[in-house]
Structures are given as structure tokens and as C-alpha cells.
């Protein structure tokens, strides 16, 4: 298990227009239990790459492997075993939370969707404490909590199925320093107990260098050089 990378991208090209792909020839490996930071400027295509890796966007060409298994289908067509192996947290919690759901339902939704409702009370209690939420916030809807509190709930939702890989796309870009440190600490606590891999996408080198085992730059990821642990 430990020799098989949890995530591998090989010469991946993806975008919204085949004539002008947002991501060209990207290669990247996240070893089992490893935390990799992907650094790039605004608009470089790194969020598109994160969406492909999270099985939310089908690439035009190239290969994606999860735990050594090639991914053949994306979005709703992805097999459940692969879909639930990946947790994802986006930049803007307001845009990634259903405004009608109470935070408790937001966090429990992936369990309901996979027929594991009986685990809800236990997981909800663990995660509420784990991400630093308080029980009184769970009954509220997104408009009744702050951005930082909502992002904590979105992180809990990403962790609720115990993914082997977590993808954080600019998870803390909208947040203050203290909430940033708290969310990163929650991710690292989860990884320390489960050995999950992490792909953290961002533009803040100081943050990624402090957070991750290694940081790769977008230019190197898309230069056709296969970036692997140790191959700096």
C-alpha cells in the first residue's frame, strides 16, 4: 500500500475548450500519506487540475490514478469506491454549501448519499470537535454563520467519509490567520490518525511550505517533468 501513490496524474490535459485547454500536460504524484502543495498564480489552471483530481471534471487526455487504479469515469459516473476515496474543500464556502441545509445536514450529507445514515451521530460528534465547531452552530443554516465557521463545516463534510486523499483548493484564501491555522491543524490531525494524502492547491508559498511535505510549482508540474517524492 505504502509504495502505491494515492494520486498520480500523467500528462493530463483538461479545460473547457479543447482548442485552449486550461491545463496542459500536467504530471504530479502524491505518495500515500504525503502532503503536496501545488503553488501557482491566479488563473494558471490549478483549480481545474484540482477538479480533475477530485473526479469533478473529465480531462481531455492523460491518465489519473487513485491508489494505482486508473480513473475511467468522472462526476456522477465515477464508481462510488473511487468517489468516496477523495474529499474536497473549495475556496468559497458560500458557493459550495447548499443554503437550505443546516450545518449538521451539510456535514452528514455524504453519509446519507452513500446509505450510511446510521453513522451520522457518531461522525457528527467527532467532526464537530475536530474542526472546532460548537454543537449550537450545527442547527444553523449557512447565512447564520461566518465564512470561517462555514468553511469549518465544509472541511467536516470533506472528511466525513474518511477519504484516503484530501484536496484543498485555496481552502484558506478567504480566511483570517487564526482560522487558517485552525483549519490546517484540523486537516493535519485527520491525516496523522488516518495516513491520508493531501493535495493543497494555493498561491501562498509561505503557507504551503509550512503546511506540506513538499511544494511543487505549477510551471514544473506542467513542464513534462514527472514530479515524484525526492525528485526535486
Amino acid at each position: 500500500m505504502s509504495d502505491t501513490p494515492v494520486l498520480e496524474l500523467r500528462a493530463l490535459t483538461a479545460g473547457y475548450d479543447r482548442r485552449a485547454p486550461a491545463v496542459r500536460n500536467a504530471s504530479l504524484t502524491v505518495a500515500s500519506g504525503e502532503a503536496v502543495g501545488l503553488l501557482g498564480p491566479s488563473g494558471c489552471g490549478k483549480s481545474t487540475l484540482a477538479r480533475v483530481a477530485a473526479l469533478l471534471h473529465r480531462p481531455d487526455s492523460g491518465a489519473l490514478l487513485l491508489d494505482g487504479e486508473p480513473v475511467r469515469h468522472w462526476r456522477h459516473r465515477a464508481p462510488r469506491a473511487q468517489r468516496t476515496a477523495v474529499g474536497v474543500v473549495f475556496q468559497q464556502p458560500r458557493l459550495s454549501a447548499d443554503p437550505r441545509l443546516r450545518l449538521s445536514d451539510l456535514i452528514a450529507e455524504p453519509l446519507r448519499a452513500t446509505g450510511r445514515s446510521q453513522e451520522i451521530p457518531e461522525r457528527l460528534a467527532e467532526l464537530t470537535a475536530g474542526v472546532g465547531l460548537t454543537p449550537d452552530l450545527l442547527g444553523r443554516r449557512p447565512h447564520e454563520v461566518s465564512d470561517g465557521q462555514l468553511q469549518r463545516a465544509c472541511l467536516a463534510r470533506a472528511l466525513v467519509l474518511r477519504p484516503r486523499l484530501l484536496i484543498c483548493d485555496e481552502m484558506t484564501a478567504m480566511l483570517d490567520a487564526s482560522t487558517t491555522a485552525a483549519l490546517v491543524a484540523a486537516v493535519e490531525d485527520y491525516r496523522a490518525t488516518t495516513g491520508a494524502g493531501l493535495l493543497a492547491v494555493g498561491h501562498d508559498r509561505t503557507l504551503l511550505d509550512r503546511w506540506c511535505d513538499r511544494t511543487v510549482h505549477w510551471d514544473d508540474v506542467t513542464a513534462g517533468v514527472l514530479s515524484a517524492p525526492g525528485a526535486v
Binding site: P41, S42, T134, L175, A177, T179, A181, T206, W211
Partner: protein
């Protein structure tokens, strides 16, 4: 610096929101500060601490269920009691230039940058006639180094950095003595943050060109949770927690030595990834349900029984147990 007549002088500013069911939310409580010409005051704090409400109060943009008290003097005018006509005709754009949080949302999506600049120039300056307005709009773009070749583009065709420059150009057109920047760097990458705050600093130092401008330089009140940006630009720092300014101090001393004196400011700096990277435990309190004493006490490791009473503001600090040792040690 403080001997000069301030551009903005805020005294005892409080804002309360009246909620359904008679609930009251204390968004801003008893804020006191000045902004001098040529000075940048950074107002920092966690999201939801009341920073943006304070900005809305200064611009007369509070919603109908808000009640404000105190005063905010800009020259001879009290912004809190001014009527909508005065605010619209003499304050917004002319006395206060607003650099918005999200330029992409602030700009009109269906019109080009040139057309928005020309409209603003025609409304706020003496330029009359098509050629003069066109030239003045061009000059306004030059002032923020907005490339002339992009003037005929729509906002969605601009990068985040160029949209930010376009919004800054609009804020500068009226040569306002006070600039108000509300989270101007949110979501920008580090290079763009540096460029944006350096440009703002340049406009603070350059000052209003108008002959009746009151002295050397504009005042800038920058509201931000980006501590790196604040460190880069600010002369002074006001730390806001749960609607109160708990520390108001010199920026160099705050970010360097001796460091913040309020445990909250100290906790914010310790959370930075290039420092200890440890969060302040817990979360900020609800503004609708504040404790009677120090609002930070539940999260503070120095708290004692004394913190059950509200700490008075002395020497720009509201804390019963100010930290004295050097933060960097």
C-alpha cells in the same frame, strides 16, 4: 504625524442592528481613532468582527435596521448625521474614495472600463466636452498604470489585478482626501497583494492634486484580515475584536518589537505560517450575545476574575493583562 489635522476623526462610534424579536447585535462599539493625511491606518481582525460595518457607517451605507451613535468628522462634516443628499453629492467619491473588496463585483459588468471611467470623470471633475472627458479618463487610467490597450474591455475580460487597478482608478478620480479600502487584497495572490498595497501606498504619499487638498498626502483607512498586507503598508494598526478596537498602536512596534500588547493581537500574529502557525483556541463570540466583561477572555490564557469587567481603554489598549515581554523572543 498626529500633530497634523486629521482627515478623519472618529469618536465613540457605535453601530447596533435591531433584529426581529427585539434582539440587538452590537456590530461596532465605542470606536475612537484618527487618520492623518499621508497616513495609512490598518483596521485588522477576524472576519465578522465588525470591520466592514464600520466602513459602511462612514459611507452612510448602513441598512435601515442599523442605529449608529458617536461622531465621524471629515473636515467640518459629521458623516454619521449627514443626510443622503450630502453623502451622495459631496462625500462619496469626492471626500471618500472607496477601493472595494471585490472589483469584479463592483464594476458594472455590461460596460467597458473606459465608459465607466468617463462617466465618473464627468460626474466628479470639472472636465466638460467629449475630448476633455476622454483625456481625463485616460489620465485616470494612467495614474494607476492601467494599460490603455485594455480600456475598451469589459470587467470579465480583465485579470484580477487589472480589475483591482480599474476600481482603484475610479476611487481616485474625485481626488478625495480619504481613501477607504475594504479588504482590497482578498483572493489575490501574493505578488498581486504586494503590488496592490504598494500602489495604494503611493497614492497615500502622493496626496490630492487639488489645490484645496488639506496637506501632504491622502489618508487611507484599510480594512483587512491580511496581516502581511497590513504590515507592508500601514503606519498604525487598529485591532478589532467583537466590535471593539482593543489595541491601537504603531505598526512597526506591532509587527516587530515589542509586538502587540493585547493577547488577541499576539494570538493573531502567532497564527501566521511564518511564525508559530498556532490558532487562537475557540471562535469569536456572537455579536448579538456578548459577555459583559472582556469579550476575548474565554479564549485568553491570561484571563483572570478581573476580566469579568470590561477593560477601560488606556494608552490605546483595552486589556487587564497586557503582555509586556518581546514577542520575537
Amino acid at each position: 504625524m498626529t500633530e497634523r489635522t486629521p482627515v478623519l476623526s472618529v469618536r465613540g462610534l457605535s453601530v447596533r442592528f435591531l433584529m426581529p424579536g427585539g434582539r440587538r447585535v452590537a456590530a461596532v462599539t465605542d470606536a475612537h481613532f484618527d487618520v492623518a493625511p499621508g497616513e495609512c491606518l490598518a483596521l485588522i481582525g477576524e472576519s465578522g468582527c465588525g470591520k466592514s460595518v464600520l466602513a459602511s457607517a462612514l459611507l452612510g451605507l448602513l441598512p435601515a435596521n442599523a442605529q449608529s451613535a458617536g461622531s465621524a468628522r471629515l473636515g467640518d462634516l459629521d458623516l454619521l448625521t449627514a443626510d443622503e443628499r450630502t453623502l451622495g453629492r459631496t462625500v462619496r467619491g469626492r471626500l471618500i474614495g472607496l477601493v472595494p473588496q471585490s472589483p469584479a463585483a463592483h464594476l458594472t459588468p455590461v460596460r467597458t472600463i473606459r465608459s465607466q471611467l468617463e462617466e465618473t470623470v464627468a460626474a466628479l471633475t470639472g472636465a466638460r466636452g467629449r475630448a476633455a472627458v476622454r483625456a481625463a479618463a485616460r489620465a485616470a487610467a494612467d495614474r494607476v498604470a492601467f494599460p490603455a490597450g485594455h480600456l475598451d474591455r469589459h470587467p470579465h475580460e480583465l485579470s484580477g489585478g487589472l480589475a483591482q487597478r480599474a476600481a482603484t482608478a475610479l476611487a481616485l478620480v474625485g481626488d478625495a482626501p480619504l481613501l477607504l479600502a475594504d479588504e482590497p487584497t482578498t483572493g489575490l495572490d501574493r505578488d498581486l497583494v504586494d503590488r496592490t498595497v504598494d500602489e495604494l501606498r503611493r497614492h497615500v504619499d502622493a496626496g490630492p492634486d487639488a489645490a484645496d487638498g488639506n496637506g501632504p498626502g491622502r489618508g487611507l483607512l484599510m480594512i483587512t484580515h491580511d496581516l502581511a498586507a497590513a504590515e507592508r503598508i500601514a503606519d498604525r494598526v487598529a485591532v478589532m475584536y467583537a466590535g471593539r478596537i482593543v489595541e491601537l498602536t504603531d505598526a512597526r512596534g506591532f509587527f516587530g518589537s515589542p509586538g502587540p500588547r493585547h493577547p488577541y493581537g499576539r494570538g493573531l500574529l502567532r497564527a501566521l505560517p511564518d511564525r508559530a502557525f498556532t490558532p487562537i483556541p475557540g471562535m469569536p463570540p456572537e455579536l448579538g450575545d456578548l459577555p459583559t466583561g472582556c469579550a476575548f477572555a474565554p479564549r485568553c490564557d491570561l484571563a483572570t476574575d478581573a476580566c469579568a469587567t470590561l477593560p477601560p481603554v488606556t494608552g490605546g489598549l483595552a486589556c487587564h493583562h497586557p503582555v509586556t515581554e518581546d514577542a520575537r523572543v
